[in-house]
Structures are given as C-alpha cells and as structure tokens.
C-alpha cells in the first residue's frame, strides 16, 4: 500500500476525531464553560499562574509531551506489522489520549490547578495518592535508563551524529547566554541557532566519531551510557536558563521542522509500505502481540506522563476553560502524528521486505535505528538530501529529545530524593549534589542491572510502557470519579480505564514469565512491584466507584 494513503488516512481520522469526538467530549461530558474563572486568572501571580495565549500554550504543552518515547515505541511495535501499530496509534489518540489529556487539564482546572498527585488524594483517597507517587518514581527511574540506552545505541550506530549532538549542547549554551544578557532579539537568535545546528548536522558525516569498542572492559555502549549520565547529572544541576531552556526551545523548533520535512518527503516520494501489514514471519523471541502492543506503544496512543504535564503546568496557564479542548486534545493529536510519521518511516523506508526483515531480526531490534534509517531513505529520495546527512538529522532529533527528557527526569528525581530527605530528616539528602548522585546511581543500576553491558534499558521498554499506562489509568480514575460525582456519563473514561488495566495486568504476567525464563531476577522483581501497583489501582478504582454508587443511592 502506498504510504501517502496511510498518512492521509491517519491524519484525516485524527482530524475528524478532533472535530467531532472532542466536541462531544468538551460539550457533553466535561461541559466546558467559557465564563468559568480559570485558576490562571483567579490566582494570577506572574510566576506559576499566568493566562497564556492558547496557541502558545499548545506549543509548549505539545513540545513538553512529545519526546523520544512516541518515536521509540511505534518503531519497536511495527515488528507485528504496520496495521496493528497504525490502528492502535490512531484509535488510541482519538479515544484514549485526547480524552485523557484534555480530561487531566479539566480536572486540574476545576480543582485550583492542583497537580494530579494531589488531586488523587483529594478526589479518590490518600492511599491512592501514595500509590500515585510510587508509580511516578518508577516511571522516572525507568525513563532515564531507557533513554540513556537508546541514545548510546544511536551514537554507536551513527557515529556521524556524535559531533552535532554534543555540538548542539554548546549552541544551546551560547544561545542561553545571548538571550539572558539580552544581546540579541529572540527572532534573530532562533534563526542563527537553527542555522548553527543544521551546519553541525551537515558537517557531521565528514567527521564521524566512534569510541573504541572496549574501554577498560566496558563496551562502547556502556561507556556512552556512563558519559550520558555524567552529562545529565551536570546539566540537571545547572540553572534552567543556562542550558535546559534554550535547548528545549531549539528542540521545539527542530520538532516542527523534522515533522514537516518527513511528511513533505513522504508526499513527494510516495513510497510503498514494504513492511508486511500483519507480520506472519515473526522472529522467534517476539512476544504475543496481544497485549504487548498496547504497552509497547504508550506515548503516541496514551501516556500517563501527559497527565503530569497537563495538571502540573498547563492547567495553571489556561486562559479560558474552552481552550483546553485545543490544548489538550490537539496536543495529543500532535503526538499521534509524530508516531504516525515514525510508523511510516520504519515501514516504508526500506526498499524490500528482506531489507526490513534484516533490520527487525529480533524483538527490540529495529527500534529508533529503524526510524532513522527508514526516515533517512525517505527524506533523501523525496527531498534529495544526502542520505548520510538525513540520517544524522533524524538521529540528532531523536537524541536531543531523549537528552532533554533525561535532564528533566533526573531533575525531578532529585527533587523526590530531596523531599524524602525533608520528610525523614536526613540533612545530607536535602542538598542538590548528593540527591543528584543518588538519582544517577539508581538509574545507572537499572541500566546495568538488567543487562551487564548497559543494554538493560531497552529490555525494560515494555515494562516502562506498562508503568506509564498505569499512571494514565490513575488519571482516568480521578476523572471518572469526578464525572460520577457530577452525575455525568462515565463510560468515555471508564471504558479506556478498564481496557488499560486489563492489558497492563495481562502484559505484566507475560513479561513476568519471560523474565523468569531468562532468569533475569532484577527485572523479575521490578515486574512484581509494578504488578502489585496495577492490582492495587484496580482495587482502588472498584472501591471508589462502588462507594460512590452507595452514596448516591442513600
């Protein structure tokens, strides 16, 4: 089938979802009120609570939720063929992610812009709040390990990207200084920054940089993982304006440029989907598609991480309540379109089926590298860019996303450790440096504990997806309870919640068996922790809803 058709079909379906389904949700379920005084107005302080233009708010909601995850997940999941991945991304975006993201903003907006964790405590129960904190910690722990592994894999596979990737950090540092000292306007500096980044990308292939295969007994992959964590630790200790803010900004611009370039190239080239629609020739180690598909693609279909962004920062800046339909639901669609682009790149970017099968030779193979290779083929043939430059471009895009997430993730984890230091009166743990070290040590332990060469990250990808889905389940539970209290229909959030819980528990059992067979006791233990959390969430949800039913009857 032609990729143009797949692309148009997907985009049209998501657009129709926005036009019709989100209208239904906004008007009939959440009953958005343009006259409701949003927290941004009620508590306006110029710091956290600032009414913000809805397009700006959408831009930064979208760029904060879109990272490397909507690329990695679908790129792994197309191993079952492109149709299942395509259907889950499209239907997931329309019926799960959009409702979830907009709902998280709505719930927070109606409760003084409280964060989802606090809301769980208020709306459901204190026990559920504790559970929420545990799940957040697990997600952060895994996301850093996973992304470090994914980046190191890319840096080893595409040595031409090493110089642009690290060069981009210096570009960001310089931009940060120029803006901070007000030497230049933002418009001019954006153009200069993007030009500098693309010059680096253009120069990358002529100066590839590869580490020696082993350094002191460590493989090159493992060395990169260590370097990355060293870098992320330093970056997370710097003031945000110095590196994180300018890098985020450049990444945001890069995201839009990359998406447009990829879609334009598909339109110009019109490649065929060479990957099978349903893969009947699965590599031996591939787990069953049901339920693993639904946890392998988390971001891009539904992701609990979005609820954190939606309730943490977005809800504090909402100008009018009706804006949340665009910000939340269309933000989810932006993310879905990134995943759609990934599916097309990984499935239409290879000349023959044999080439594709060589890349997807076992589960967890392919992945981002397939997105980069396939996407580069499409861009080089469609727009006429040199293949190696296109490869470098896409690698840099994926790595920068993952790098920013690592930096933020490590920062958040440090805050958690510092808070624990506060709660339990451990004075040294309240300081930034020791808390960062603790965060780094726990992430490195996870990255290496699961696989001795630092490849553990990708082995835990499905487990990361599962935990992320649990977080989404918790958010859906909060929204459902709120809807029931208001006497409105609850099925739009309850059905996705039930579906998610069944799939995650099912997936956890299957993975548990897998880890047992591999005798990977580290991941086996982690799986059990997540499983306990999942069952607990199911019980909490049942008890909360049955209590409500009793209350309403009496």
């Amino acid at each position: 089938m032609n990729a143009i058709f797949v692309m148009l079909l997907g985009l049209a379906a998501m657009f129709l979802g926005y036009v019709f389904y989100s209208k239904f949700i906004a008007e009939k379920i959440y009953k958005l009120d343009p006259n409701f005084k949003t927290p941004a107005h009620e508590f306006e302080d110029g710091v956290d609570f600032v009414p913000t233009n809805k397009y700006v708010l959408w831009g930064h909601h979208f760029t904060s939720v879109a990272g490397a995850a909507p690329i990695i997940g679908p790129a792994i999941a197309v191993i079952w063929g492109w149709v299942p991945a395509f259907l889950w991304v499209i239907f997931g975006t329309i019926f799960f992610a959009g409702v979830h993201d907009a709902g998280a903003i709505w719930a927070s907006n109606r409760n003084k812009a409280k964060s989802m964790g606090n809301l769980t405590g208020d709306v459901v129960s204190k026990r559920a709040q504790t559970l929420f904190m545990i799940v957040i910690f697990l997600v952060l722990l895994m996301v850093n390990a996973v992304f470090a592994t994914a980046i190191s894999g890319l840096l080893v596979k595409f040595p031409s990207s090493v110089i642009p990737v690290w060069g981009a950090i210096f570009v960001a540092l310089i931009i940060g200084q120029i803006i901070f000292r007000k030497w230049m306007g933002l418009g001019a500096i954006s153009v200069l920054g993007v030009v500098a980044l693309y010059l680096l990308i253009w120069a990358g292939p002529s100066a590839p940089l590869a580490l020696p295969e082993t350094i002191g007994g460590l493989t090159d992959n493992a060395t990169w993982v260590l370097i990355l964590f060293g870098y992320a630790a330093i970056a997370s200790l710097l003031p945000v304006w110095m590196l994180l803010q300018p890098r985020d900004y450049i990444n945001g611009l890069q995201l839009f440029i990359g998406l447009i370039l990829l879609y334009a190239a598909v339109l110009l080239l019109g490649p065929d989907m060479t990957a099978p629609a349903f893969n009947t020739n699965l590599p031996e180690d591939t787990p069953s598609m049901l339920p693993l598909l639904f946890v392998t693609i988390a971001c891009g279909a539904i992701s609990g991480f979005h609820g954190l962004v939606a309730s943490g920062t977005t809800s504090k800046q909402l100008d009018k309540e009706t804006d949340l339909r665009f910000v939340g639901y269309f933000g989810a669609i932006g993310e879905g379109s990134l995943s759609l682009a990934t599916i097309i790149a990984a499935c239409a970017g290879f000349a023959t089926l044999a080439d594709w099968e060589a890349v997807y030779s076992s589960f967890g193979q392919g992945g981002v590298a397939a997105f980069v290779e396939g996407g580069a083929n499409i861009i080089s043939q469609g727009v006429g860019l040199d293949n190696e430059i296109a490869e470098t471009l896409l690698t840099v895009m994926a790595v920068l996303f993952a790098g920013t997430t690592m930096d933020t993730g490590l920062r958040l984890q440090r805050y958690i450790f510092q808070e624990w230091g506060n709660i339990y009166n451990i004075s040294w743990m309240q300081k930034a440096l020791p808390a960062t070290l603790l965060a780094v040590i726990s992430c490195v332990a996870l990255a290496f504990g699961a696989g001795s060469d630092g490849s553990g990250g990708l082995a835990i990808w499905p487990l990361f997806g599962t935990t992320n889905q649990l977080l989404a389940g918790l958010t859906l539970m909060v929204i459902t309870v709120m809807l029931v209290r208001l006497g409105r229909p609850m099925y739009v959030t309850l059905l996705p919640l039930i579906f998610l819980l069944i799939m995650t528990v099912f997936a956890l059992f299957i993975q548990l068996k897998g880890f047992y067979m591999q005798e990977n006791w580290f991941l086996f233990g982690l799986d059990i922790v997540v499983l306990v959390a999942a069952v607990w969430i199911a019980l909490e949800a049942t008890s909360a809803l049955s209590n409500l039913k009793k209350e309403q009857k009496s």
Partner: protein, 93 residues
C-alpha cells in the same frame, strides 16, 4: 495602500515576535521567578542580619537599604512562616 501594507506586515512581525518570546519564556517562567525569589530572600537575610544577632561587617551600609526593603518585608516574613515581623525593633503588621 503600500503604507498600509508595510504597517500591517510590521504589526504581524511584532505579534509573531511576542508569541515566540512567550513560547521561549512560558515553560520556565516559574522556575526562574522562584530562583530569583530565593536570591532576594537571601539578600533580605543579609540586610537584617545584624538585628537578628548575626554580626555583619557591612551593617553600616545595609541599614540604609532597610527602608527600601520595607515593601517586600511583609511578603518575606509571611513566606518564612512567621505571621508577624520576627524583629523587635522592626514592626510590620
């Protein structure tokens, strides 16, 4: 006609500039404002350190700053969890 066009283009550019600025600043507004507030709080401590029994070699100069800090003083002691001014010789509310 041409004048009108240039004007509208200029307007369009300045509007785009505003939006880009918002896009750059909005995500980090709170983190930066909080960091600034922390530094201001430290400065407040320095200015009033002598009154709290901490010797300050620059107190001759910081004394002059006290009236200038008055406006922020109320916010500061409330933020620090003290309902009224903690200083005997410096009443607030």
């Amino acid at each position: 006609m041409r004048n009108m066009n240039i004007k509208s283009i200029q307007q369009w550019f300045s509007r785009a500039g505003e939006l880009v600025n918002e896009f750059y600043n909005a995500p980090y507004r709170s983190a930066i404002a909080r960091a600034k507030r922390d530094e201001d709080d430290l400065f407040m401590m320095l200015v009033f350190s002598e009154m709290m029994g901490v010797p300050n070699p620059a107190s001759y100069y910081t004394l002059e700053l006290q009236p200038l800090m008055l406006e922020r003083f109320h916010d500061w002691h409330q933020r620090m969890g003290m309902e009224h001014s903690p200083l005997d010789h410096f009443r607030c509310c």
